[in-house]
Symmetry: C3
Subunit: 383 residues, 3 copies
């Protein structure tokens, strides 16, 4: 990072580049065509952050898409306003503190992509959140008010009158002790709000979730004509444990939303889980923030993940007015992934990753969609 | 701003962030649905400017939309080429020097948004303009040639063969004297050109104006099928007066354009006005460039505005081939706004603003659209 | 450029601005309407590059379009990984090393736009390429694997399973001798791959080429319903010679692709050439990288170009199922251009350029489209 500091102010320019490749050994789309191999720009994020007039800020444009296209968007744009000695109010567009997997920074993931539970949580949202802590960080709190994003989505605009409240509490009771339980953390996040699909085509469909596999391939979407129309609640119990060169992160996710199609209203509850293990055979310590390297050390990191997502079966009930078609939308996805990363130094990482995702439903005639086997490679540079 | 200066060259990186919220107490869209509350990224502008090889330049991307969406665009991209000691030629994409309200920098507005007269002037345009002055700045001139933007629009592409000439003259006769009239300025801006709507859908509709309320809600647009087809002229007489901790800015706006629908051609003349008062109860001086703070001073600023916009009644004449539908497009809008800003220091400002906009027409059956009452909040950071 | 260097790392911020104007003396679109004059932002490229942890990198967003619109995109995003002392692997989105004309940097073109042969080569692509050399640079090699871009296109996404191999060999045998032949270079580039149009509307049409004149006006596109469906091969023999204040760059281009419309399959081979002469009457030396100025020198540069592009006649064969319509798509384009540039100093350049493009076919009834005469102006600033 390029840092310019004077008189207590600091401007920091940093950049993160992830160049990926995907090779599908097996797998097909809902319409039966082969999934597309190739190179892609996964994340290109020149970031401006700093301390300024007593405030913190971060502006991060994203110069690439999520693997299916290319675009330029504004990922983060927030200001942190201190509230006393141990808290701050974060105002603007920011990462949602709901899924534990999402809270891992994108540069420190043990596998190339995140797991399935994260698909049920909002990605980023626009609003304000208070971050506080007690017991020297042993208890951490988040309380926020946001526009409200659909599961897995990144909200960049106010899209209806219904807002969403976010809350999170996370404990690391032994954080400041040198015990075996020093690296243990557990907690729960929740959201509650109302959501109403509005506006024409694209805006309305962005107000609904679509769930994607580890290779970012969509396996579930609602049928057209379905709109959000009422309460939306989420609950994410979460647990992490890191000790020396090994780590463990797990969470459950529940997303319950009221939707409407024509005159029918249904409250659907989707559930997911994610269990991820990390191990650094070269011995360096690992934390929630990634492998801790000193000097120009190199390290190997192994990641193993099992995750799953289950759509509420009532989504598929009914005849022509069902909320999702079993011929296109999978009822269940089960992911197993194994990743290997070579940290050349603190700045450069090469990763190679194998993921298998098995589906129930989602193919013509209600058959099971073909299992998706993908090899993903990544080159990562952090400046 | 981060400044890198050497050998007469200077590169300056600055940034402006405006995070807004809108809460509609009352108001609805043309189709009768509620206006959307929420948070929004109003302006995120990392800006690169400087002096270089004897030239000035400015490149300012805009990382957010105008309140209804999100996008990334190039706002300013121009080079200033000196022409003698007191003038310069500005080449590229730049702010149009037509509306006095528009010429106020976005960080120094006494209310959160600009008034209605500004809606009749171009926002930004692509071309060249000569900026000159005489009598030590007592007389200021602008003469420009541009692609030609529709009222309130920002032109980023050449869109037809018809160009537009801009001219502005502004006097501050007592500028260099220490008299009561020291802060008095008056002048007039005008544009003249030809405009022809071309190309399919989006491009054609971007060639026509749409007028928006203080909360950036559209209240007037032409019916589909209307195209620009001939002369477009504007006249903006303008006046400003600043004395100590109070200020006054007023202007009239007239925009007259030849349009066509099917075989009918009409010359429509819309008019608007804007009167804005500023007062700094904490006593700091205020100028056209905003409240002047020294050191780490704080200040309060009050703004009061009345503005109005009247559509040419002939726009609504005729049966099915009228140019605008009275059921959707308002005939007249009348805005009253009151704003309060707390300048924490030169970098940070919080604003809170109440605006009422009353309409004539614009609702089904030609009824008056519901009055729009909006509370707008803003957090502003200038680096 | 703003350079920040420490401990062997270097971050370099540079910027390039090209503000253009176009004035069509003659010329019309396929549908017979006048071509659009006006100002445009041709290239606005703030660029971040550097050396970092032993790697080179470059991130260059493009803040403007190619003359017909405006957008923000990611032009370059690559990392160079050294492979021994004289080679490197370039990973990411990068310029394709196929057309010699394309390899000229955009700031050092003798005319405002490139010639017609370049239209048959890919612009930029996503993948990896090894750059190597032997005999102290006397022989240069490129070998790459890419997603595969259509002729003249810039690929930003993986778009099908068919990849493309790039190869280039270029010789400068007398490069290190002080002989008359010192500035002679010759070589050949080639691509080979498979291409399949996939996905709906926009994505599918981006998988096919469209060819454009010197003024960036499209004169050839396939009829709708045509898709890429098989091999795509290109061959570009190329030659350059620079001596003192004069230079010569020439190339041939052949692009052969298998396409399908309904049940018909055709292998079409388009050909093009480009010959460009540069002369610096003020005497400064010129190389492939442009006029070499020292200190605050000024220079004049003259450029003269003849280039042509010929569509495979079989594209127009057949009745309603022909691959291109002779009423809209030209069969042949012949370009003659003359350019004058005034290098004010190393940073600032003004250019004025006259181009005539004559067409065969491409107008209603299979008539020849009107000759296109355009005067193009450019202001260029390089920081």
């Amino acid at each position: 990072a390029l840092v310019d500091a004077e008189r207590g102010n600091e401007l920091r320019f940093s950049a993160m580049v992830q160049l990926d490749s995907r090779l599908f050994l097996e797998g097909e789309t809902a319409t039966g065509s082969k999934l597309e191999d190739g190179f892609l720009l996964r994340r290109i994020r020149p970031t401006l952050s700093g301390q300024f007039a007593g405030l913190g800020f971060r502006i991060a444009p994203e110069l690439s898409g999520n693997g299916t296209g290319a675009n330029v968007a504004l990922l983060d744009a927030f200001v942190d306003i201190p509230t006393g000695r141990t808290g701050f109010l974060r105002v603007g567009k920011q990462k949602s503190a709901i899924s534990l997997d999402r809270l891992r920074v994108a540069t420190a993931l043990p596998l190339v992509e995140r797991g399935l539970a994260n698909e049920l949580a909002p990605n980023r949202d626009l609003g304000l959140a208070w971050y506080g802590q007690a017991f020297s960080g042993g208890a951490q709190f988040v309380l926020g008010l946001f526009n409200g994003a659909a599961d897995g989505r990144d909200v960049a605009l106010r899209d209806d009158g219904g807002k969403e409240v976010h809350a999170r509490v996370f404990f690391e009771p032994f954080r400041n002790e040198s015990s075996l339980l020093n690296g243990l953390g557990f907690g729960v996040s929740a959201t509650a709000g109302r959501k109403r699909s509005e506006g024409p085509g694209a805006a309305a469909s962005a107000s609904l979730p679509r769930y994607r596999s580890a290779a970012q391939e969509e396996f579930f979407a609602y049928s057209s004509g379905v709109v959000a129309d009422g309460h939306h609640r989420r609950l994410f119990p979460q647990l992490s444990y890191f000790h020396r060169n090994a780590g463990f992160v797990a969470e459950l996710g529940v997303s319950e939303q009221v939707l409407q199609r024509e005159s029918q209203t249904r409250r659907l509850r989707h559930t997911a889980y994610d269990v991820t293990l990390s191990w650094v055979p070269t011995g360096q310590p690992i934390t929630f923030r990634g492998v801790q390297l000193t000097g120009s050390e190199s390290a190997l990191e192994l990641g193993l993940r099992a995750s799953g997502l289950r759509i509420d079966p009532r989504a598929f009930e009914g005849g022509l007015t069902r909320f999702a078609s079993p011929d296109v939308a999978a009822r269940r996805a089960q992911n197993l992934g194994l990743g290997l990363s070579w940290h050349v130094n603190r700045q450069v990482k090469w990763s190679l990753d194998v993921n298998r995702t098995r589906y129930q439903g989602g193919a013509p005639g209600g058959a099971d969609r073909q299992t998706e086997d993908v090899v993903m490679g990544r080159f990562q540079l952090v400046y």
